[in-house]
Amino acid sequence: MYIGIDVGGTSTDAVLLNDNKVQATTKVFNLPDDLLGSLLQALDKILQDVPVAKIERVVLSTTVITNWIAENKQDSVGLILMPGPGRKLQQYRKADVHIITGAIDYRGREIIPLLEEEILDTIKALKDKGYNKVAVIGKFSPRNNTHELQVMKIIKKHQPKWLIELGHIAGGELNFPRRVANTLLTCATKEKYQSFVKSIRAALKARNIVAPVFIMKADGGTMTLKNSECSPVETIFSGPAASTLGVQSLTPAGGTSLVVDIGGTTTDLSLILSGQPLLSSKGVLLGDQLTQVRALAVKSVPIGGDSVLEIIGKELIIYSERAGQPYCLGGPFPTPTDALNVMGLTGLGDSDKAWEAMQLLGWKLNMSPVEMARKAINLMVDMIVTEIEKMFLEWEQEPAYHTWEVTQKRKIRPQNVVGVGGGAVGFIPKIAVRTGGTPVLLPYATVANAIGAVVAKPTLQITLRVDTEQQKISIAETGYQSKLAQPDLDEQQVLALAKSELINRATSMNIDDDISAVEVLRQDVFNIVRDMVTTGKIHDVCVQTVRGIHCHVGVGG
């Protein structure tokens, strides 16, 4: 038996899966500031008469990190940057930025050395301002981490208790500004996240659940709860990923589906191509911060069932802000949910109130409540369809750096339009007609997140770079950097090395049982030629565990 739990902003959802069938589901509204209490309530509801010894796995998804960041509840962090020549990042939002001397180039060679005195001055300045958390980030540190390590060593010597995060570990891809974001967020959320993990452990212990615990990542994979403590930012936006995986598990394998998750305030769009959720080519955008966190390609449209409807002049407008509950649930303004109610497309709320809401809107335009409701629904559908078309265009506009990628570009439109979330029932058939797909409404649509969590599998990726001229080897995801053990490696050896590193890492993370196969995402090799002589090779290989879900879910007892 497997348990999936989605800890959201307003509710905690849980499902119990038994023999690939849903045995129990629940939705518990969160108790204010009592995560433990909410978790216990949810567990108790799905575990009635279930022997806990039969629980084999618990998987969580959560938006808590996302919410802390959105609400500015993270801890304050001092930034030490080494941008070198190129773009300077003299300001990074409201962060306290300290730029120090020192630079590395794209091959990992030192261009400008560090100045120890300057580092000491910076530590003093940070101390005077009361910081005890510091993020240290150098440009090109994934190619050479010695500057970051040296700075850390000096800080540790003078301030042994400070929490220090390094760029090459928190953000190993090539993108300095996003690395700054990753490192800053990791540093700012780590302590809080540890208390979140503590509550989870306490809840499971209280109910004698000893099964391994995993947490979802934004890329639709999972990691062990223990490992997530080192990199809490990986869990941001795991909510939308969970709902996409939920759909993947509830629809037949191999299909192409557009997932439309219509919630109260936002509508999330994602894609399942030939049975696999589409990954974003770039990292997650969190508020206005671009990060290196790998994620499923989810487009968030700021309208939902609770969005406010208003007539301005002769125009019907949907506002992206939420001003409370829909009118039919006692809220202050008419909303799309009220329109659905009038059309008989949702059972939510008081239908007299819903009619009243549509009447309030309609009289200005001389429209009956039914006409008004139809107009409101059509407007919402229009807006969502426009965003869907934009999303497909954006996906086709992805850059390509190889000739084979250009010649293999294709145009794809979905077979299925799958609705998830409270508002889906009323909108999906109309959206499907407009996008040329078949509308699909799923059972358990309201707890798709928790189902997605329960079927998610661990994912692991290794990007290995070998520079035989510089005699260097590095792994982006782990921050590992070392001298090359042997003078030369051919393409086969590099690939074998990448694969064995992946397996080793899986073993060290306790997820090796779930790794069925390894796939090669990319393998490039570049001849380094100087003065007409080949002086070495740069290998760039990316391998990952084959992505997938544990099972397709059926309707159970």
């Binding site: 794209y106 750096y401 490039d524 030629v529």
Partner: protein, 455 residues
């Protein structure tokens, strides 16, 4: 708030294509530029929009070239993508979606001439010429300027537009007596129908940022202002850089950025530049930021110092003299009589020996231009490769090109030339490029077939 238009970027490093494993035009060329771009996060900047490359069609290539025997034989996918990328950006600029664009693509193109028998100076297809013809045909753009800032003379682009009064071609480069392709002297000023629409500014080895910008400010910008083009293309070669292995100039990334900021090209297309570690990552970044209107002042080479290069006084003096001479040519250009330039003849003739350095063979070409008082005339090219045999040869061919502004008499005469050549057993292929109708024909003698590229 009015949203500022963005700078379009197509970055196509062709990581799976090389001329050969150790050739300068290999996979590694833009690897460090990619690293620098990615690491700097420039693709995330709100001022920059990255677009995917697109494959140019044979028809689009045929607007600019006679590929012998055909486009498929002379190009691989990488060539078509490089040209297609430039076209795609020009479309986005014309639609008003972006304010300007930078195509960082390989392979380059500015040594490719109108007739393509093979690879010259690493180039098969002239990416800029393909864009010019696209803009004229699709958008009716009338006047264009191409500013070639590569260290090598842009002899291919010059050859294609030598008789075209609607395209101002300006190339500044290291003096042809000291570097490939050995052309680009001050007296190469265009044919009788297009006098002074070709301008060459040979610079002595050792020219630094100071003189580079002096030429831009005192010669190129005023000429562009006078010519008043609707669209400006920069053949943005980066081998004037002080570390370039092929050139001997002393230009820095800052120099390139300032030059770009002054020139304000609509479209920049990467040409040469083979200091792939010491120059390209910095120069490409500086040019892109300059085009996007971002601060580029910190983009410097690791060993850069503001006063690193003191230009020799004799170099400065030589550059100033060159500029003064060309200013004079430009000022008096309208006084030149067409009839005088063509010695009162009806046709202008040029005999060309064209060397293909990559595979080492020679093409002989007779160029015959109808000098017409009413229009830019038509061009006949009689080409053969006397020393070469086998598939490369394709025998002697005749190619006729009709300018898009040709008068009806010139059009009729050009079609007569084409029809007569089809009957002439000496030519194994006969080509017709009629830009007034966007019609391109190929006739093959072997089987008497004639076909048209589809538009």
């Amino acid at each position: 708030m009015q949203k500022q238009k963005r700078t379009g970027l197509i970055f196509f490093p062709a990581f799976d294509w090389a001329i050969s494993a150790t050739h300068p035009e290999r996979e590694e060329r833009l690897l460090y530029t990619r690293d620098q771009f990615f690491e700097e996060g420039v693709l995330d900047l709100p001022e920059i929009a990255e677009y995917p490359p697109v494959v140019a069609t044979p028809h689009e290539i045929t607007r600019a070239h006679f590929c012998i025997p055909g486009v498929d034989y002379q190009t691989v996918t990488a060539h078509r993508i490089a040209a297609g990328a430039a076209i795609h950006l020009s479309d986005r600029i014309m639609s008003g979606e972006i304010k300007n664009g930078f195509a960082i693509v390989r392979p380059p193109g500015h040594h490719a001439m109108r007739v393509v028998r093979g690879n010259r100076g690493f180039c098969n297809i002239n990416n800029e010429a393909v864009v010019v013809e696209h803009l004229r045909r699709v958008y009716g753009v009338k006047r264009l300027a191409i500013i070639d800032t590569d260290v090598h003379h842009g002899d291919g682009t010059q050859e294609i537009y030598y008789h075209d009064p609607d395209v101002l071609f300006i190339s500044f480069h290291q003096d042809g007596r000291t570097i490939f392709p050995g052309t680009g002297f001050m007296d190469e000023l265009g044919g009788p129908t297009a006098y002074a629409s070709t301008i060459n500014i040979p610079l002595p080895p050792g020219t630094s940022d100071k003189s580079f910008l002096y030429v831009m400010e005192n010669l190129i910008l005023p000429m562009i202002k006078d010519f008043d083009p609707e669209f400006v293309i920069n053949s943005a070669g980066q081998d004037n850089h002080y570390t370039d292995p092929l050139g001997d100039m002393l230009i820095t990334a800052q120099g390139y950025a300032r030059m770009t900021a002054m020139l304000q090209p609509d479209l920049a297309v990467l040409e040469g530049g083979y200091a792939i570690e010491t120059a390209l990552p910095y120069v490409n970044l500086a040019i892109l930021l300059a085009m996007a209107g971002r601060d580029y002042s910190y983009v410097t080479e690791p060993d850069y110092q503001p006063d690193k290069f003191r230009e020799d006084a004799s170099v400065t003096e030589y550059v100033h003299k060159t500029v003064a001479h060309l200013q004079n040519v430009w000022k008096n250009r309208l006084a030149k009589q067409q009839s005088q330039l063509v010695s009162h003849d009806k046709y202008y003739y040029r005999q060309k020996n064209i060397h293909y350095d990559t595979e080492n063979f020679e093409e002989k070409q007779l160029e015959k231009v109808r000098v017409c008082a009413q229009c830019p005339g038509h061009i006949m090219l009689d080409s053969h490769m006397p020393q070469t045999t086998g598939i490369k040869e394709c025998g002697r061919v005749l190619a006729v090109s009709v300018h898009n502004r040709c008068c009806e008499y010139c059009i009729a005469e050009a079609w007569d030339v084409y029809k007569n050549a089809k009957k002439d057993e000496r030519y194994s292929y006969v080509y017709m490029q009629d830009k007034t109708e966007d019609t391109f024909l190929t006739f093959r003698r072997k089987d008497g077939r004639e076909w048209q590229t589809e538009g």
